[in-house]
């Protein structure tokens, strides 16, 4: 079943066309990896899915509802779609726990022991039980990114978007974040990732999409994209990064 | 005898304007043969009419020309300049020979600058508005105590306010008398203490509905306000100025000028 469906999505910043007719279907429980050079439109595509950027044309359907309809309140949609950013974007003036509890409190109206127990359980599940009261600047990059993931998960989203979440990390910290993704994958979370971790995409993705100049040039199961790419530009990109 | 001498000197001066000053002032002015007199900027009625001291109209302007004449300067040998209060009492060299700006003579000021003998002894008057009088203010100290008072902070009205009236509420003080009247117009103060001529001017010209409630005669205060000409400390011209003022007093000329330009000073009730 198609959880998220994009048809003919277009987005331009002035004269600069960033997304040029994107068609993409993400089924429930699937993991889709977006690969491609910097500036190919991966990040913008994710930001459009979360309605951080309004699209110019085309449609984005979440569970069959057009969420990209101009004038529609984006807020309720965003509570159903979690997003994690390359630069963590934790709120630096709050502890890890406060970062995670803010949205459930304000948006869902949750509070008390029910919330704190649930949040504590999330921290424990991702190995950060002893870091709950730390401030972001007291945490390593990998820990901060894991808190950011927990923060998104605390809203119990139906789908998670990850925007190059390991790109800002020191190499030795990448593993702990990818482990979280593996864990989520195993739990059946629907996920869309923009990533440069080709090994990871190959290992876990259901579908890999190669973006080039705002279009999905080629998509399919990782084995086919990585072993036998059809497009010359895909081949050129892969030979550069592999 | 002195009188005779002065008169003859005067006649001499009138006959030979080019010869100019008497011996006393010779070589003691900033510019030889010219008496440089400072006044306020602007200068007010009734001290100087129309801010034009050159006309000789107004009490201080008239005193200035009479004094100059007495010292042997013809009218065209008088040069006017303008100074602020602060400039005048600053230590150091002055750019005027004498400064005529309703300076009250105080011993403290006299340590920094020189004053001539007084040319005017002022009564202090209570300036208020018709509205305050209608509300029941009377020219008695008891009644005045209950008013909200204002004064120009740079004048001796400030300590006199405390000495003579001792108001119940702390007075409000201002930088100049325009601000005092603005505050009175705004109803922020009921009354203000000024020397009589200033109070007359303000009530007649500046304030709508201005009333002079009463005056304290000079002898009521311990130190009645006396106006003197201000000069640089140690100015050798002082003896000439004092002598000339003495002559003007003796001849009755000063009283005449006061009557001419400050004649309004009558008709304000005395405060018991």
């Amino acid at each position: 079943m198609a959880m998220l469906q994009l048809t003919g999505v277009r987005k331009a910043f002035g004269d600069n066309v960033v997304l040029d007719g994107i068609d993409l279907t993400v089924s429930a429980g699937q993991m889709v990896c977006l690969i491609g050079a910097s500036g190919s439109g991966k990040s913008t595509l994710l930001r459009c899915m979360n309605l951080l950027e309004p699209i110019d044309d085309g449609a984005i359907l979440l569970d069959g509802t057009d969420i990209s309809e101009p004038g529609r309140d984006p807020q309720p949609v965003r509570t159903r779609i979690g997003m994690v950013f390359q630069s963590y974007n934790l709120f630096p003036h709050m502890t890890a726990r406060a970062n995670v509890e803010l949205a459930p409190r304000r948006v869902r109206g949750q509070s008390g022991a029910a919330l704190s127990d649930r949040v504590a359980a999330l921290f424990a599940r991702f190995g950060l039980a002893d870091r709950m009261e730390h401030y972001p600047d007291q945490l390593s990059g990998g820990q901060q990114q894991r808190v950011a993931i927990i923060r998104a998960l605390a809203m119990a989203p139906e789908i998670m978007l990850f925007d190059e979440i390991t790109s800002a990390l020191d190499p030795e910290l990448v593993g702990e974040v990818l482990d979280v993704l593996r864990q989520l994958r195993a739990e059946g979370m629907t996920m869309v990732l923009a990533t440069h971790e080709m090994g990871f995409a190959r290992e876990l993705a259901d579908t890999v999409c190669f973006l080039d100049r705002g279009r999905i040039l080629e998509s399919g199961p990782p084995a086919r994209i990585f072993e036998t790419p059809q497009e010359p530009r895909t081949r050129a990109f892969l030979s550069r990064v592999l | 005898m002195t009188r005779l001498l002065t008169t003859s000197t005067l006649a001499l001066v009138l006959a030979l304007p080019a010869v100019a000053q008497t011996d006393c002032a010779a070589g003691k002015t900033i510019e030889e043969g010219v008496l440089t007199i400072a006044t306020g900027n602007p200068a007010y009625y009734p001290w100087v009419l129309n801010d034009a001291p050159e006309s000789g109209e107004g009490f201080e302007a008239a005193v200035a020309y009479a004094l100059a004449e007495e010292m042997g300067f013809a009218a065209d040998q008088v040069s006017w300049t303008r100074t602020s209060f602060d400039q005048s009492i600053q230590p150091g060299a002055k750019d005027f020979d004498v400064n005529l700006q309703q300076f009250s003579i105080t011993p403290e000021r006299a340590q920094v600058v020189d004053f001539s003998v007084p040319y005017y002894t002022s009564a202090m008057a209570v300036l208020t508005t018709g509205a305050v009088v209608e509300a029941g203010a009377e020219p008695t100290v008891a009644s005045l105590k209950g008013l909200v008072w204002g004064a120009d902070a740079n004048t001796t009205a400030v300590p006199m306010l405390t000495d003579l009236i001792a108001p119940e509420r702390q007075p409000l003080l201002y930088g100049d008398n325009v601000d005092v009247t603005a505050a009175m117009q705004a109803g922020q103060i009921d009354a203000a203490l000024f020397d009589l001529p200033t109070a007359l001017y303000l009530s007649a010209v500046v304030l709508n509905d201005g009333v002079l409630l009463g005056q304290f005669p000079p002898e009521r205060s311990e130190n009645p306000d006396q106006f003197g000409l201000l000069m640089e400390k140690g100015n050798p011209l002082k003896e000439c100025v004092d002598a000339a003022l003495g002559a003007l007093k003796d001849s009755g000329r000063l009283a005449e000028i006061e009557a001419t330009w400050l004649q309004d000073a009558t008709g304000v009730p005395v405060i018991e």
């Binding site: 965003r78 974007n89 709120f91 304000r106 809203m155 | 409000l172 003080l173 930088g175 922020q188």
Partner: protein, 270 residues
């Protein structure tokens, strides 16, 4: 056992300290010796640094300074609150609230563009001149309002610069969690922005402490006016020097503290 570098650096430091102390001493000596040699020194000393006048007027000045402190004390919190509201109003994005946003923008432009003393005059004399009854025409009331208007405009601009300095990714992160624009501002943007501009605002409040003296132009007898009264009575400027010392006793430590906060923040961010 100090390392070779430590020994070298200790020697360098000692030499630098000696040079600094020596040159400072020379300058102070020159001032102390040369200035009294100036021909006008005695007159200046009598007028500006008169010990007798100082002793006589200083208690009165201190007493008048209480008025400055009182005015500051009731203005400062109101300025902080008004500045915050203005900054928020100026940042409003909802179309329905455009009039509020425009009003806030105009307010800030106008009051930042006017000399404080002018606003004090216009409001302190002007509004009571409309015929308000006592106590509503009090110069304390309207003078304080003038300070509040002007300084809240300054504070609003400082806070707004703080809001703008918060990276857009913070807003994006808050929005991606489904927070409303209002909650985003209240819980994510403002707390960071306000914290970031604390030193700049402290400098504003130091300036306010000095500008309280401007209220004297419309009547209140605070320290500056009291010094002026003494100056007129005694024909001596020493009371101004006394007032200056009292101001400095407050403002120098406050300025140092603001600098300290600023450099600590800079370190924390680098």
């Amino acid at each position: 056992m100090p390392t070779r570098r430590e020994i070298f650096e200790a020697r360098q430091r000692r030499r630098a300290n000696l040079v600094a102390a020596g040159s400072t001493g020379l300058v102070v000596l020159a001032i102390v010796v040369l200035v009294p040699l100036a021909p006008g020194w005695e007159a200046v000393q009598r007028s500006f640094f008169n010990g007798e006048v100082f002793a006589r007027t200083f208690p009165g000045l201190l007493n008048a300074f209480l008025m400055d402190i009182a005015i500051f004390a009731w203005c400062a919190p109101l300025i902080a609150a008004a500045g915050l509201l203005l900054a928020i109003a100026r940042d409003l994005r909802a179309p329905a609230l455009t009039p509020v946003k425009l009003a806030a923008t105009a307010f800030i432009d106008i009051f930042r563009g006017l000399p404080v003393i002018l606003v004090i005059y216009l409001i302190g004399f002007g509004i009571p001149g409309l015929g308000l009854p006592r106590p509503w025409n009090s110069p304390y009331l309207w003078g304080s309002l003038a300070l509040i208007l002007v300084y809240s405009a300054y504070v609003a601009e400082v806070i707004r610069s703080g809001i703008e300095s918060i990276h857009d990714s913070q807003r994006a992160a808050a929005q991606s969690l489904g927070l409303s624009p209002r909650d985003t501002m209240r819980f994510v943007i403002l707390p960071q922005a306000v914290r970031r501009v604390v030193p700049a605002n402290m400098n504003l409040f130091i300036a306010l402490q000095k500008d309280v003296a401007l209220l004297s132009f419309i009547g209140p007898v605070e320290i500056f006016r009291q010094a002026g009264v003494y100056k007129s009575l005694l024909a001596n400027f020493t009371p101004y020097v006394g007032a200056a010392l009292i101001f400095l006793a407050i403002t120098i430590p406050a300025t140092r503290y603001a600098d300290h906060l600023m450099s600590r923040q800079k370190r924390a961010r680098s």
